[in-house]
Symmetry: C2
Subunit: 390 residues, 2 copies
């Protein structure tokens, strides 16, 4: 009853432990020679020989060249092969849908960006529509050299929960309004801020940090938490939902639900700025970017507002540091990225909490799609070599 064709695809290859670790090494660290892998994993040459043969038999590795050391025979260079297949990663953002098709070891095969006709405040059927179209467009140009599709991942601008969580209040199911997952292909959903945090962990300023917190400050405010190199998601996908921090809060002050979101969100912030803008200071800024530009130019009123906002961000970071004490914080997002706010945030955290290194994100708008690519690739890799049955 077996299909006579390719040896990969539906079958769950039963690799030896060494073959699995070799595959994972190539997945994680990219192309390498046998001696390099053997040294890294502490495996003997004969073991590497048989592991490579195992993986080559199903097309999971391929030779891409040779490297010559100072002396001695050339070593062959290997990477993951066509048989390992490819993944599709999508950032379903509120303004753009970004899509990357990559191999499991994250070599870019194809990339698309689609500008949504209108900004979407929340995950919506418009976004779903765009995602469906972009993914379909990939299907049309899929090349045989990409190998089988192993997984699809989508970064969502919403809380993401699995089955047992509170899935109603999340808007995550809107993604399925027009987009239909391909049967048999695992679909990974993840919150977009978590994705950006994870990208920062692999390619960005948080590289090598087992524990850190990423805070994204833009239209909305969100936080991604990585502890022991793993994302903290929370029971309801609500980990890092800092907009629900108790606020306002003090003697005689009663916190309100999600009050921080409306206070620190860029729209409310800008509205406060415009209200308080003195007529003699010129025309009030029309958007946060303009306010930041004025502040960068040294406009004293703008600077003062930016400082105040940065201190509020510092208070948020301090609260997070008080809870998880990560030792490292990355500021990202349209506002968080701005170098003006960094010193103020540092001052506040320094004053209120524990020694914490704070840096600005180095990844651009691709952070989110890079993060979901990583998470999707990890899932695909585990599927290929771990013994987890679907």
């Amino acid at each position: 009853m077996r299909a006579g064709g390719l040896s990969n695809g539906g079958n769950r290859a039963n690799f030896t432990a060494s073959a699995k670790s070799v595959f994972r090494t190539l997945y994680a660290s990219g192309p390498a020679t046998r001696p390099q892998i053997g040294a890294a994993l502490g495996l003997s040459r004969p073991t590497l020989s048989s592991s490579m043969a195992e993986l080559d038999r199903v097309g999971y590795v391929e030779k891409i060249g040779e490297v010559q050391g100072a002396v001695g025979r050339k070593a062959s260079m290997y990477r993951l092969g066509t048989g390992a297949g490819h993944i599709i990663a999508v950032d379903a953002g509120s303004t753009h849908v970004r899509l990357r098709v990559s191999t499991i070891d994250r070599r870019l095969l194809h990339s698309r960006i689609y500008r949504l006709p209108s900004n979407q405040r929340h995950l919506s059927s418009e976004i779903s529509q765009a995602v469906a179209e972009e993914v379909d467009a990939v299907r049309a140009i899929t090349e045989p050299g990409w190998g089988p599709l192993r997984a699809v991942g989508i970064a969502l601008p919403s809380r993401v929960v699995d089955k047992d969580g509170d899935t109603v209040s999340t808007r995550q199911d809107y993604i399925f309004a027009h987009f239909t997952p391909r049967p048999g292909i695992p679909l990974i959903l993840e919150n977009n801020v978590n994705c950006a945090a994870f990208a920062e962990h692999s390619h960005g300023v948080a590289k090598g940090r087992a524990d850190f917190v990423y805070i994204q400050i833009g239209l909305k405010i969100g936080m991604g938490i990585v502890l022991r190199n793993q994302l903290v998601r929370g029971r309801n996908g609500g980990a890092g939902e800092v907009s629900h921090l108790s606020f306002p809060w003090g003697p005689g002050l009663r916190p309100e639900n999600a009050a921080l979101e409306t206070y620190v969100g860029s729209e409310a912030f800008l509205e406060r700025v415009r209200q308080a803008w003195p007529p003699e200071a010129g025309a009030p800024p029309i958007d946060p970017a303009q306010l930041l530009a004025l502040a960068e130019a040294g406009h004293p009123v703008a600077v003062e507002h930016v400082r105040h906002h940065a201190e509020d961000i510092g208070a948020i970071v301090s609260s997070a540091v008080s809870i998880v004490d990560p030792g490292f914080v990355v500021l990202g997002g349209g506002i968080g990225n701005n170098p003006l706010i960094l010193p103020y945030v540092r001052d506040v955290v320094d004053r209120l909490s524990y020694p914490t290194q704070i840096e600005t994100s180095v990844l651009g708008p691709d952070a989110t799609v890079l993060g979901i690519e990583l998470l999707t690739a990890e899932h695909a890799c585990a599927l290929l070599i771990e013994d987890l049955e679907v």
Copy 2:
């Protein structure tokens, strides 16, 4: 150059993987028969036979009896043996020093409680003195049947950091004022609230919860966070230091360093209560216990104050839930334990944050020493079977 005597002690036995997992099963789940262990681990009877022989050879297991099923031959019951040794766990508290001597599988061998002559606000040399005396007292009565001492653990009322953290501001080194660790015996230090949380995870209401938050409300306020069944400690041992949450905080309100500690601590709380106590309401309470007693009796002024305090606790819990969204929260400590505050905390968290089950601690004042016992036993277990060299 080997000492001719016992086979255990300094040597690092090189067990098979199956023997290690058998040992860990007995460590984690207590006495069991071979068929039970085999079924639990998916090991065959011959493998169990040889694993047991391996462990028995160094005295790590011992037979303690036989059990008879419905039909068939009796099965032998095993547990960790004398050769596995024992541990000493100490709760260096501010009012008492509690000490437990136990086997690695947490069978109590000896227990002591010492009431400090005066309450200690912080970790002090007085506490260190008491710990040193209590641990020395154990040495005097140590029985041969306990086997070798494998590890000593101490729960401290301070932040605990390892080498690379900020060890200066911690008072953790006060523990060494009079207490000197035994050379060659690993010493485990852990924050006392983390210990209580961990105990709640193993023996308490949080049993089986991979993720939860424990909040202890008493003279001071502290939080222990467990994610993926592991304590979150933080870079500076500051995880769960909720007294550093941004407070007071609101439009026009500038958070102050550790302001929450002084606001929500029981002394400041009681002082506020006494200040606001109306003369016609009788004598104001002299301590929090009395205030709680009055509230339990229905005294309206007391009830109102307790409600207000409980709402502040709810705000703290909400902030923690906003950051890590554990789905489960345990209230402990002298005040947190009181059933009066539970409904108010639930209401606040329900209003401000995500669906979270909140319960009251079920463990008494032994929680902390039980927690450090667990952590120390885990360390000892890992030392015996994992290949980690000291």
